[in-house]
Protein backbone atom coordinates (compact mmCIF):
# COMPACT_ATOMS: atom_id res chain seq x y z
CA UNK A 1 0.00 0.00 0.00
CA UNK A 2 2.81 2.34 0.89
CA UNK A 3 4.44 1.79 -2.47
CA UNK A 4 1.31 2.71 -4.38
CA UNK A 5 1.02 5.89 -2.35
CA UNK A 6 4.63 6.65 -3.01
CA UNK A 7 4.12 6.04 -6.67
CA UNK A 8 1.15 8.40 -6.85
CA UNK A 9 2.98 11.13 -5.02
CA UNK A 10 6.10 10.66 -7.07
CA UNK A 11 3.98 10.79 -10.20
CA UNK A 12 2.39 14.03 -9.12
CA UNK A 13 5.78 15.51 -8.39
CA UNK A 14 7.51 14.47 -11.52
CA UNK A 15 4.51 14.63 -13.76
CA UNK A 16 5.51 11.36 -15.32
CA UNK A 17 2.66 9.05 -16.29
CA UNK A 18 2.42 6.08 -16.20
CA UNK A 19 4.78 5.64 -13.31
CA UNK A 20 5.65 3.12 -10.65
CA UNK A 21 8.35 4.15 -8.22
CA UNK A 22 10.16 0.88 -8.27
CA UNK A 23 10.59 0.73 -12.01
CA UNK A 24 11.81 4.17 -13.09
CA UNK A 25 15.51 4.31 -13.84
CA UNK A 26 17.65 6.17 -11.32
CA UNK A 27 19.06 8.35 -14.08
CA UNK A 28 15.54 9.45 -15.01
CA UNK A 29 14.83 10.10 -11.36
CA UNK A 30 17.88 12.31 -11.03
CA UNK A 31 16.88 14.35 -14.06
CA UNK A 32 13.34 14.75 -12.81
CA UNK A 33 14.43 15.55 -9.27
CA UNK A 34 16.96 18.17 -10.27
CA UNK A 35 14.59 19.54 -12.87
CA UNK A 36 11.88 19.96 -10.26
CA UNK A 37 14.08 22.22 -8.18
CA UNK A 38 15.33 24.16 -11.16
CA UNK A 39 11.73 25.01 -11.93
CA UNK A 40 10.78 25.77 -8.35
CA UNK A 41 13.69 28.08 -7.64
CA UNK A 42 14.36 29.73 -10.95
CA UNK A 43 16.90 32.18 -9.54
CA UNK A 44 19.05 29.61 -7.81
CA UNK A 45 22.06 28.33 -9.66
CA UNK A 46 22.45 24.56 -9.67
CA UNK A 47 25.85 24.68 -7.99
CA UNK A 48 24.49 26.74 -5.12
CA UNK A 49 22.25 23.95 -3.82
CA UNK A 50 25.17 22.69 -1.80
CA UNK A 51 24.51 25.62 0.47
CA UNK A 52 21.12 24.33 1.41
CA UNK A 53 18.63 26.86 2.66
CA UNK A 54 21.16 29.63 2.17
CA UNK A 55 20.85 29.12 -1.56
CA UNK A 56 17.24 30.29 -1.40
CA UNK A 57 17.04 32.53 1.68
CA UNK A 58 18.98 35.78 1.62
CA UNK A 59 18.45 36.88 5.22
CA UNK A 60 19.74 33.72 6.81
CA UNK A 61 22.47 33.53 4.17
CA UNK A 62 23.83 36.82 5.52
CA UNK A 63 24.05 35.42 9.04
CA UNK A 64 25.59 32.22 7.70
CA UNK A 65 28.26 34.16 5.84
CA UNK A 66 29.08 35.97 9.09
CA UNK A 67 29.43 32.68 10.90
CA UNK A 68 31.57 31.27 8.08
CA UNK A 69 34.03 34.11 8.71
CA UNK A 70 35.47 31.85 11.32
CA UNK A 71 33.68 28.62 10.76
CA UNK A 72 32.75 26.82 13.95
CA UNK A 73 33.71 23.50 12.35
CA UNK A 74 37.36 24.47 11.97
CA UNK A 75 38.17 23.18 15.42
CA UNK A 76 36.55 19.87 14.48
CA UNK A 77 38.59 19.68 11.29
CA UNK A 78 41.76 20.26 13.28
CA UNK A 79 40.86 17.58 15.80
CA UNK A 80 39.93 15.31 12.92
CA UNK A 81 43.31 15.79 11.35
CA UNK A 82 45.00 14.87 14.61
CA UNK A 83 42.89 11.73 14.90
CA UNK A 84 43.60 10.90 11.27
CA UNK A 85 47.33 10.98 11.86
CA UNK A 86 47.30 9.24 15.21
CA UNK A 87 48.50 5.63 14.92
CA UNK A 88 46.42 2.81 16.33
CA UNK A 89 47.78 0.56 19.08
CA UNK A 90 48.97 -1.88 16.44
CA UNK A 91 51.04 0.80 14.72
CA UNK A 92 48.80 1.15 11.68
CA UNK A 93 46.59 4.15 10.97
CA UNK A 94 43.67 5.39 8.91
CA UNK A 95 46.01 5.94 6.00
CA UNK A 96 46.49 2.19 5.75
CA UNK A 97 42.77 1.63 5.20
CA UNK A 98 42.11 4.63 3.01
CA UNK A 99 44.74 4.43 0.33
CA UNK A 100 45.65 7.33 -1.86
CA UNK A 101 45.35 11.05 -1.41
CA UNK A 102 43.11 12.17 1.43
CA UNK A 103 41.39 14.66 -0.86
CA UNK A 104 40.02 11.81 -2.96
CA UNK A 105 38.40 9.94 -0.09
CA UNK A 106 35.17 11.89 0.40
CA UNK A 107 34.03 11.36 -3.16
CA UNK A 108 34.31 7.58 -2.84
CA UNK A 109 31.35 7.42 -0.41
CA UNK A 110 28.64 6.37 -0.23
CA UNK A 111 28.95 3.42 -2.57
CA UNK A 112 27.45 0.00 -2.99
CA UNK A 113 29.63 -2.90 -1.91
CA UNK A 114 28.83 -6.04 -3.85
CA UNK A 115 30.65 -8.50 -1.59
CA UNK A 116 28.87 -7.42 1.56
CA UNK A 117 25.69 -6.40 -0.31
CA UNK A 118 25.47 -3.16 1.57
CA UNK A 119 25.97 0.55 1.24
CA UNK A 120 29.29 1.72 2.57
CA UNK A 121 29.19 5.21 4.03
CA UNK A 122 32.18 7.32 4.98
CA UNK A 123 31.46 6.94 8.68
CA UNK A 124 31.06 3.18 8.45
CA UNK A 125 34.38 2.98 6.62
CA UNK A 126 36.04 5.05 9.33
CA UNK A 127 34.86 2.70 12.03
CA UNK A 128 35.57 -0.42 10.01
CA UNK A 129 39.14 0.73 9.78
CA UNK A 130 39.26 1.01 13.55
CA UNK A 131 37.70 -2.34 14.29
CA UNK A 132 39.79 -4.06 11.62
CA UNK A 133 42.82 -2.83 13.53
CA UNK A 134 41.70 -3.80 16.97
CA UNK A 135 40.41 -0.41 18.02
CA UNK A 136 37.03 0.34 19.54
CA UNK A 137 34.68 1.97 17.05
CA UNK A 138 33.71 5.59 17.60
CA UNK A 139 30.16 6.42 18.55
CA UNK A 140 28.18 7.05 15.38
CA UNK A 141 26.54 10.41 15.59
CA UNK A 142 28.91 12.95 17.08
CA UNK A 143 32.28 13.48 18.65
CA UNK A 144 35.33 11.83 17.14
CA UNK A 145 33.53 10.24 14.21
CA UNK A 146 32.23 13.63 13.16
CA UNK A 147 35.68 15.15 13.57
CA UNK A 148 37.42 12.62 11.35
CA UNK A 149 34.56 12.88 8.88
CA UNK A 150 34.89 16.68 8.99
CA UNK A 151 38.59 16.48 8.20
CA UNK A 152 38.01 14.17 5.26
CA UNK A 153 35.08 16.26 4.05
CA UNK A 154 37.17 19.42 4.26
CA UNK A 155 40.01 17.84 2.32
CA UNK A 156 37.57 16.60 -0.27
CA UNK A 157 35.80 19.90 -0.81
CA UNK A 158 35.19 20.69 -4.42
CA UNK A 159 35.15 17.08 -5.60
CA UNK A 160 32.12 16.22 -7.67
CA UNK A 161 29.42 14.01 -6.21
CA UNK A 162 29.44 11.09 -8.61
CA UNK A 163 27.86 8.06 -7.06
CA UNK A 164 27.80 5.19 -9.54
CA UNK A 165 24.34 4.82 -11.00
CA UNK A 166 22.71 1.68 -9.64
CA UNK A 167 22.20 -0.89 -12.36
CA UNK A 168 22.41 -4.38 -10.87
CA UNK A 169 19.37 -5.82 -9.13
CA UNK A 170 21.03 -5.56 -5.75
CA UNK A 171 22.07 -1.96 -6.30
CA UNK A 172 18.57 -1.08 -7.43
CA UNK A 173 17.13 -2.77 -4.37
CA UNK A 174 19.13 -0.49 -2.11
CA UNK A 175 18.34 2.50 -4.27
CA UNK A 176 14.62 1.83 -4.12
CA UNK A 177 14.78 1.21 -0.41
CA UNK A 178 16.22 4.69 0.02
CA UNK A 179 13.84 6.24 -2.48
CA UNK A 180 10.79 4.72 -0.86
CA UNK A 181 11.96 5.87 2.54
CA UNK A 182 12.30 9.38 1.19
CA UNK A 183 8.79 9.49 -0.17
CA UNK A 184 6.97 7.42 2.43
CA UNK A 185 4.87 9.10 5.11
CA UNK A 186 5.81 8.27 8.66
CA UNK A 187 5.29 9.19 12.24
CA UNK A 188 2.50 10.79 14.18
CA UNK A 189 2.68 13.81 11.94
CA UNK A 190 2.44 11.52 8.92
CA UNK A 191 5.04 13.31 6.90
CA UNK A 192 7.58 12.20 4.35
CA UNK A 193 11.04 13.64 3.83
CA UNK A 194 9.71 14.81 0.50
CA UNK A 195 6.82 16.68 2.10
CA UNK A 196 9.14 19.21 3.67
CA UNK A 197 12.17 19.06 1.45
CA UNK A 198 10.62 18.73 -1.97
CA UNK A 199 7.03 19.99 -2.13
CA UNK A 200 7.47 22.53 0.64
CA UNK A 201 11.09 23.50 0.18
CA UNK A 202 11.40 27.21 0.76
CA UNK A 203 8.24 27.38 2.84
CA UNK A 204 8.25 28.12 6.53
CA UNK A 205 7.49 25.85 9.43
CA UNK A 206 7.13 28.38 12.19
CA UNK A 207 10.32 30.39 11.88
CA UNK A 208 12.41 27.87 10.00
CA UNK A 209 12.64 27.77 6.26
CA UNK A 210 12.74 24.31 4.73
CA UNK A 211 15.85 23.44 2.78
CA UNK A 212 15.65 21.77 -0.63
CA UNK A 213 16.63 18.09 -0.62
CA UNK A 214 18.87 18.64 -3.61
CA UNK A 215 22.38 18.83 -2.23
CA UNK A 216 21.47 17.64 1.25
CA UNK A 217 24.35 15.23 1.81
CA UNK A 218 26.96 17.52 0.27
CA UNK A 219 27.68 19.63 3.33
CA UNK A 220 27.88 16.96 6.00
CA UNK A 221 29.12 16.45 8.61
CA UNK A 222 27.66 19.65 9.92
CA UNK A 223 28.31 21.98 12.81
CA UNK A 224 24.84 22.83 13.93
CA UNK A 225 24.62 25.87 16.16
CA UNK A 226 21.65 24.25 17.81
CA UNK A 227 23.77 21.25 18.78
CA UNK A 228 26.80 23.38 19.56
CA UNK A 229 28.77 20.53 18.05
CA UNK A 230 29.49 18.54 14.90
CA UNK A 231 27.12 15.84 13.83
CA UNK A 232 26.90 13.29 11.08
CA UNK A 233 24.21 12.95 8.43
CA UNK A 234 22.62 10.09 10.28
CA UNK A 235 22.47 12.15 13.42
CA UNK A 236 20.40 14.65 11.50
CA UNK A 237 18.21 11.95 9.99
CA UNK A 238 17.39 10.68 13.46
CA UNK A 239 16.67 14.15 14.77
CA UNK A 240 14.43 14.95 11.84
CA UNK A 241 12.47 11.73 12.28
CA UNK A 242 12.02 12.47 15.96
CA UNK A 243 10.70 15.88 14.98
CA UNK A 244 7.82 14.44 13.04
CA UNK A 245 7.21 12.07 15.92
CA UNK A 246 8.42 9.06 14.02
CA UNK A 247 10.64 6.47 15.62
CA UNK A 248 14.18 7.30 14.60
CA UNK A 249 16.33 4.57 13.14
CA UNK A 250 19.82 3.88 14.38
CA UNK A 251 22.73 5.64 12.77
CA UNK A 252 24.19 3.42 10.06
CA UNK A 253 21.04 1.33 10.00
CA UNK A 254 20.03 -0.10 6.63
CA UNK A 255 17.26 2.47 6.36
CA UNK A 256 19.53 5.47 6.81
CA UNK A 257 22.29 4.01 4.67
CA UNK A 258 19.81 3.50 1.85
CA UNK A 259 18.46 6.99 2.36
CA UNK A 260 21.94 8.45 2.21
CA UNK A 261 22.64 6.45 -0.96
CA UNK A 262 19.45 7.73 -2.58
CA UNK A 263 20.06 11.33 -1.52
CA UNK A 264 23.64 11.29 -2.75
CA UNK A 265 22.59 9.96 -6.14
CA UNK A 266 19.95 12.69 -6.42
CA UNK A 267 22.73 15.19 -5.78
CA UNK A 268 25.08 13.79 -8.43
CA UNK A 269 26.76 16.61 -10.30
CA UNK A 270 26.98 18.94 -7.33
CA UNK A 271 30.20 19.41 -5.40
CA UNK A 272 31.11 17.97 -2.04
CA UNK A 273 31.03 20.90 0.29
CA UNK A 274 31.57 19.67 3.81
CA UNK A 275 31.87 20.25 6.59
CA UNK A 276 29.04 22.74 6.86
CA UNK A 277 27.78 25.24 9.39
CA UNK A 278 24.08 25.49 9.93
CA UNK A 279 21.77 26.91 12.54
Amino acid sequence: MKITMTATIAALVFGLMPFTAVQASPADDVKAFQGFFAKKFKDTKFDDYINGIYSIDAASRKQWVEIEEFPPYELAVENGEELWNKPFANGKGFKDCFKGDVSAIRAKYPHYDDKADTIVTLESAINKCRTDNGEKPFKWKKGKIAEVSAYIAYQGRGQTIAVKMPSSDKELAWYNKGKNFFYAKRGQLNMACADCHVYNAGNFIRADRLSPALGHPSHFPVYRSKWGSMGTLHRRYGGCNKNIRAKPFKAQSDEYKALEYFQAIMSNGLKWNGPGARK
Binding site: A59, I67, I205, A207, S225, K226, K242, K279
Partner: protein, 157 residues
Protein backbone atom coordinates in the same frame (compact mmCIF):
# COMPACT_ATOMS: atom_id res chain seq x y z
CA UNK B 1 40.28 37.84 42.16
CA UNK B 2 39.75 41.55 42.57
CA UNK B 3 36.67 41.58 40.38
CA UNK B 4 35.00 38.94 42.50
CA UNK B 5 35.34 40.82 45.74
CA UNK B 6 34.06 43.98 44.16
CA UNK B 7 31.10 42.03 42.86
CA UNK B 8 30.31 40.73 46.33
CA UNK B 9 30.67 44.10 47.99
CA UNK B 10 29.00 46.27 45.42
CA UNK B 11 26.23 43.87 44.49
CA UNK B 12 23.76 45.20 47.04
CA UNK B 13 24.72 48.76 46.32
CA UNK B 14 24.32 48.45 42.57
CA UNK B 15 20.96 46.75 42.57
CA UNK B 16 19.40 49.16 45.02
CA UNK B 17 21.09 52.10 43.35
CA UNK B 18 22.23 53.50 46.69
CA UNK B 19 24.39 56.62 46.63
CA UNK B 20 27.34 54.77 48.15
CA UNK B 21 27.20 52.34 45.27
CA UNK B 22 26.82 55.26 42.94
CA UNK B 23 30.02 56.89 44.03
CA UNK B 24 31.92 53.59 43.91
CA UNK B 25 30.82 53.18 40.37
CA UNK B 26 31.27 56.70 39.08
CA UNK B 27 33.31 56.57 35.89
CA UNK B 28 35.86 59.19 36.95
CA UNK B 29 37.24 57.23 39.87
CA UNK B 30 40.60 57.77 41.54
CA UNK B 31 42.25 54.40 40.99
CA UNK B 32 42.11 53.70 37.28
CA UNK B 33 42.32 49.91 37.23
CA UNK B 34 39.93 49.29 40.07
CA UNK B 35 37.44 51.70 38.61
CA UNK B 36 37.34 49.59 35.51
CA UNK B 37 36.80 46.52 37.63
CA UNK B 38 34.12 48.25 39.68
CA UNK B 39 32.15 49.47 36.72
CA UNK B 40 32.45 46.07 35.07
CA UNK B 41 31.55 44.01 38.13
CA UNK B 42 28.27 45.49 39.22
CA UNK B 43 26.44 45.91 35.92
CA UNK B 44 26.89 42.22 35.22
CA UNK B 45 24.43 41.61 38.01
CA UNK B 46 21.82 43.93 36.51
CA UNK B 47 18.66 42.31 35.24
CA UNK B 48 17.27 45.22 33.29
CA UNK B 49 18.64 47.97 31.07
CA UNK B 50 17.65 50.57 33.65
CA UNK B 51 19.45 48.79 36.48
CA UNK B 52 22.53 48.31 34.36
CA UNK B 53 22.68 51.96 33.37
CA UNK B 54 22.03 53.03 36.95
CA UNK B 55 24.79 50.75 38.15
CA UNK B 56 27.13 52.26 35.63
CA UNK B 57 25.96 55.69 36.67
CA UNK B 58 25.74 56.92 33.13
CA UNK B 59 23.31 58.56 30.82
CA UNK B 60 23.96 58.09 27.18
CA UNK B 61 22.95 60.28 24.29
CA UNK B 62 21.40 58.61 21.28
CA UNK B 63 23.62 58.96 18.26
CA UNK B 64 23.56 57.69 14.74
CA UNK B 65 27.35 57.71 14.81
CA UNK B 66 26.95 54.43 16.68
CA UNK B 67 25.87 51.46 14.61
CA UNK B 68 24.69 48.09 15.78
CA UNK B 69 24.63 45.54 12.99
CA UNK B 70 22.54 42.49 13.81
CA UNK B 71 19.98 40.39 11.96
CA UNK B 72 16.31 41.37 11.99
CA UNK B 73 15.36 37.79 12.73
CA UNK B 74 17.95 35.64 14.45
CA UNK B 75 18.47 32.36 12.64
CA UNK B 76 19.74 30.85 15.85
CA UNK B 77 19.11 32.77 19.04
CA UNK B 78 22.13 31.25 20.74
CA UNK B 79 24.54 32.51 18.13
CA UNK B 80 23.60 35.93 16.85
CA UNK B 81 26.41 37.67 14.96
CA UNK B 82 26.64 41.28 16.06
CA UNK B 83 28.92 44.09 15.01
CA UNK B 84 29.16 47.37 16.86
CA UNK B 85 30.97 50.24 15.22
CA UNK B 86 31.19 53.95 15.73
CA UNK B 87 32.58 57.01 14.06
CA UNK B 88 32.69 59.01 17.27
CA UNK B 89 36.09 60.56 17.83
CA UNK B 90 37.99 59.31 20.84
CA UNK B 91 35.84 56.23 21.38
CA UNK B 92 37.43 54.28 24.24
CA UNK B 93 34.92 51.65 25.20
CA UNK B 94 32.13 49.75 23.54
CA UNK B 95 29.57 48.13 25.84
CA UNK B 96 26.92 45.76 24.59
CA UNK B 97 23.61 45.15 26.33
CA UNK B 98 20.89 42.71 25.40
CA UNK B 99 17.69 44.24 26.69
CA UNK B 100 15.67 41.12 27.46
CA UNK B 101 18.44 38.79 28.57
CA UNK B 102 18.65 37.67 32.20
CA UNK B 103 22.17 39.08 32.18
CA UNK B 104 21.55 42.32 30.39
CA UNK B 105 25.13 43.53 30.36
CA UNK B 106 26.65 41.24 27.79
CA UNK B 107 30.14 42.51 27.10
CA UNK B 108 32.48 45.44 27.29
CA UNK B 109 35.34 46.11 24.93
CA UNK B 110 38.07 48.56 25.86
CA UNK B 111 39.78 49.85 22.78
CA UNK B 112 43.54 50.16 22.70
CA UNK B 113 45.77 52.09 20.38
CA UNK B 114 45.43 51.66 16.66
CA UNK B 115 42.31 49.55 16.79
CA UNK B 116 39.35 50.42 14.58
CA UNK B 117 36.33 51.28 16.74
CA UNK B 118 34.41 48.30 15.45
CA UNK B 119 34.05 44.92 17.09
CA UNK B 120 32.34 41.72 16.01
CA UNK B 121 31.10 39.17 18.46
CA UNK B 122 28.37 36.54 18.74
CA UNK B 123 25.71 36.69 21.43
CA UNK B 124 22.88 34.73 22.93
CA UNK B 125 19.62 36.60 22.59
CA UNK B 126 17.04 35.04 24.87
CA UNK B 127 13.95 36.93 23.81
CA UNK B 128 12.99 39.38 21.12
CA UNK B 129 14.45 42.68 22.17
CA UNK B 130 17.17 45.19 21.49
CA UNK B 131 20.88 44.91 21.24
CA UNK B 132 22.07 48.17 22.76
CA UNK B 133 25.53 49.60 22.31
CA UNK B 134 27.01 52.32 24.47
CA UNK B 135 30.18 54.05 23.43
CA UNK B 136 32.32 55.86 25.96
CA UNK B 137 34.35 58.75 24.62
CA UNK B 138 36.02 60.80 27.33
CA UNK B 139 33.29 61.67 29.83
CA UNK B 140 30.46 61.26 27.37
CA UNK B 141 28.37 58.25 26.43
CA UNK B 142 26.60 57.65 23.17
CA UNK B 143 24.14 54.95 22.34
CA UNK B 144 22.19 53.25 19.63
CA UNK B 145 20.42 49.95 19.28
CA UNK B 146 19.08 47.32 16.91
CA UNK B 147 15.96 45.27 17.42
CA UNK B 148 16.40 41.54 16.97
CA UNK B 149 13.48 39.17 16.71
CA UNK B 150 13.76 35.72 18.16
CA UNK B 151 11.19 33.06 17.43
CA UNK B 152 10.91 29.37 17.89
CA UNK B 153 11.87 27.45 14.83
CA UNK B 154 10.13 24.38 13.51
CA UNK B 155 13.11 22.18 12.80
CA UNK B 156 14.35 20.58 15.94
CA UNK B 157 16.47 17.47 15.94
Amino acid sequence: MKRRTFLKGSLAAGVTGATMGGSLLAPNMAFAEDAAAATAADPFAATSMDDALKALGITAEESDKVTVVAPDLAENAAVVPVEVKTSIEGAEEISVFISNNPTVYAAKFKLGEGIDPAVKCRFKVGKTGDIVAIIKAGDKYYTNKKAVKVTKGGCGG
